[in-house]
Amino acid sequence: MNSFLNTSRPPVFCPGCTHDRITKSLDAALVKLGIPDNKTVIVTDIGCSGLFDTFFNVHALHGVHGRALTYAAGLKLADPSLNVIVTMGDGGMGIGGAHVLAACRKNLDMTLIILNNFNFGMTGGQYSATTPSDAQVGSEFLNQAEIPMDICGVVESAGATYVSRISGHDDGLSDELVSAMQYKGFAVVETLGLCTGRYTKRNQLTPKVIDQMIEQRPSPGGMIARNQRPEYGERYRQLAKEKGKFPEPFVVKKQFDMPDARRHEVVILGSAGMRIVTAGDMVCFAGISGGLNVSIKNDYNITVLRGQSVSEILLSPDTIGYTGIESPTVVLALSDEGVARRQKIFAGLSSDTYVLKEASVAIPDTPAQVEEIDFKAMKIKKTDWALASLAVLASQKRVLNKDMLVFALKSRFNEKVFNLSMETVEKIL
């Protein structure tokens, strides 16, 4: 193929605009590269650089300002065989800064061409992240209070594996684009150019001045030695391959007759680190093995190693509707923090409610039946109090029995943990 340009959609840039030269250089580069048209996609966003995809007969995706790299990453991950080219202006680079940094860190095999023309051409020449502080722009004095960003410096420090800076008027541009596209990894090419419609009307910027700018801040020259590492997609697929088996859902069949097959509402009041959530799950597994429907909600702090840990469990022979606790049948009071979190429920408990309270825990006045147990005296560690209180329930055949508890522990734990937990259970049962 001798050109990928879309003859029915010729470029429409302002006379003298560097974008026009870059379009032709990109076409020449694609011809030199020799990749079929349907193996290349051009991804663009908003602004004059966002017109690029329409000028080429290749796959095209044009999206929202600054987000082109995110679509490009999705395409590349979905189809690693694609030659993915992203064009973005200094505007898109600014608004999509987080995506530029993430793309540098990831190192997917894509080419980002940043068409830096120092302003927002399409909306009236407002200042961008690369506008010099002394430039005359469409946003009055605002650029004077900021400094421009060094794109190459930023992407290099963010981990880009290939970085270069080149004038859009440089005869070597198409060759530079070829090496960027041939490079396996994330290649960033910053082109400097003229926005004749806006920027050069008020600023003395010429191809010669651009050459001087590049002399002052030379191109990093392509491959960045210190950033070299495997391409993201290949690394990702290699790591993903090492992932274990698909986690099938754990299926429990009814195998026991529940000693007390009625609706139960169980509340476990404890603290972080007391394995409250695990104990809650045990009650549920036990309930399911007894043919009951179950639901469980847990309430714990976002700082997971501190504060209350509360489990609320429903067990019912009927389908569970409302999943809130209305009238608890069993309350396990295992820490003051947990009790404080549900302080209000104690006064409203019924006289049938069974409260098991560890000796060190204080609870508000309640009409419920309260039994106190001194786990500490039994030399049971605090982390096992929740499990031990389930053993107490099993010993009374309340909510669950010993077979169900053992079944639950076996289902949830590996052999080592199971044996350890049985040591605790056997202190009670």
Partner: protein, 372 residues
């Protein structure tokens, strides 16, 4: 009986896998994070891709790219994430990109309460995009629904090439429940229609009531995709007729299939004068309340909507017709009730809503029904 025991979020992930989802991108946010965690366990062993985006905007961007390369994609977030998804939701609506968004709602506004449930975003999901073109929103009531409706969501996304929301809630997503796998009722899978014509592919050429046939970016035939107002050829257009036709088609493709999109449950009790309408997990408390009222000799009928958007207008008109009074219960201060009032214009519609971080208890619902 073969019971499984999982939270709603895991059920969404299992539904996605059952639907053939092979790409996920998301950003951690309570209470939706465990969907991401589950997908990260489930996708790699099946050869799928699961990515953590640098933010929510990027996550949706990855999904859009992957969907255009032919993948079946899922993302998951909560209200603050939906805010950030907004620009890409608009893109996916207007440019007909199939994707499924699980929104595990939490109490808003803004960052609100990360660990407190509410049906906060019922109108936001429908209207949180530019142009007013429609999306599909499905509301599960429990973990089993999460699994089933996610499969429906993928089917709808594929067929209609639009974003489909799962309107979950912290109280479903992070509540673990048992359900019988044998009771699962999964629909047969629907895949997006590939273009098979002999004429050159025109990416947005479609019947006036259908989504266009699909070809992936990266396939043999060149594909154009754009977020800008486009004609059938995928190029920007300013032709008023072409624009009008495209805009209309985005509405018509869903409206024409309303009957198939409409999912619901009902319990119509003979000789009752009140119909209680609800959705999501609130409908479970409504069921409890209705059972308790029936015992007291004050039976009511119930309608639980699973498809919230597009509003199932003919269903509402048909089901409400025999009743003197409609009571709407919502876990917010009144969002969907506005749609019901609009559709059942002239009917007596009463409302009870609550937004305090806790579930609406059946007793409150009974009170609302009894206080005429």
């Amino acid at each position: 009986m073969a019971f499984v025991f999982m939270e709603g979020n895991e059920a969404v992930a299992r539904g996605a896998m059952a639907a053939g989802c092979n790409f996920f991108a998301g950003y951690p946010i309570t209470p939706a994070t465990t969907i991401f965690n589950n997908m990260l366990q489930m996708l790699p062993p099946k050869g799928g891709t699961c990515i953590q985006g640098e933010d929510e905007i990027a996550s949706m961007g990855y999904c859009i790219g992957a969907a255009m390369a032919g993948k079946k994609v899922l993302t998951a977030t909560s209200g603050p994430g939906i805010s950030l998804y907004s620009e890409h939701i608009s893109f996916a609506i207007g440019s007909e990109i199939p994707l499924v968004i699980a929104n595990v709602q939490r109490l808003g506004p803004s960052t609100g309460s990360a660990t407190r449930g509410a049906d906060s975003d019922i109108q936001f999901m429908r209207w949180g995009s530019t142009s007013g073109a429609p999306v599909i929103v499905l509301a599960p009531k429990d973990a089993k629904d999460c699994l089933e409706l996610t499969v429906h969501a993928f089917n709808f996304a594929e067929e209609f090439r639009c974003p489909v929301f799962i309107a979950s809630n912290k109280e479903i997503g992070m509540t673990k429940e048992s359900f019988d796998m044998d009771d699962l009722n999964l629909p047969p899978l629907v895949e997006r229609t590939p273009y098979t014509g002999s004429d050159p592919y025109v990416p947005f050429a479609a019947d006036p009531d259908k989504a266009p046939p699909f070809l992936p970016i990266g396939g043999k035939t060149l594909v154009r995709q754009t977020s800008s107002t486009h004609g059938p050829d995928g190029y920007i257009t300013i032709d008023p007729q072409i624009i009008a036709d495209m805009q209309q088609r985005l509405h018509t493709k869903l409206n024409a299939a309303m009957d198939r999109i409409t999912l619901y449950e009902e319990n119509m009790v003979p000789d009752t004068d009140t119909l209680v309408i609800s959705y999501g997990l609130t409908s479970r408390a409504v069921t409890d309340a209705a059972a308790a009222l029936a015992e007291r000799g004050r039976p009511v009928s119930t309608l639980s909507l699973k498809t919230l958007w597009p509003v199932p207008e003919s269903l509402l008109l048909e089901k409400a017709a025999p009743f003197k009074r409609i009571v709407v219960i919502e876990m917010n201060l009144g969002q969907y009730v506005n749609e019901i009032k609009r559709v059942l214009c002239g009917k007596k519609v009463d409302f009870y809503g609550q937004m305090n971080g806790i579930l609406i208890p059946p007793a409150k619902i009974m009170e609302a029904i009894e206080n005429e």
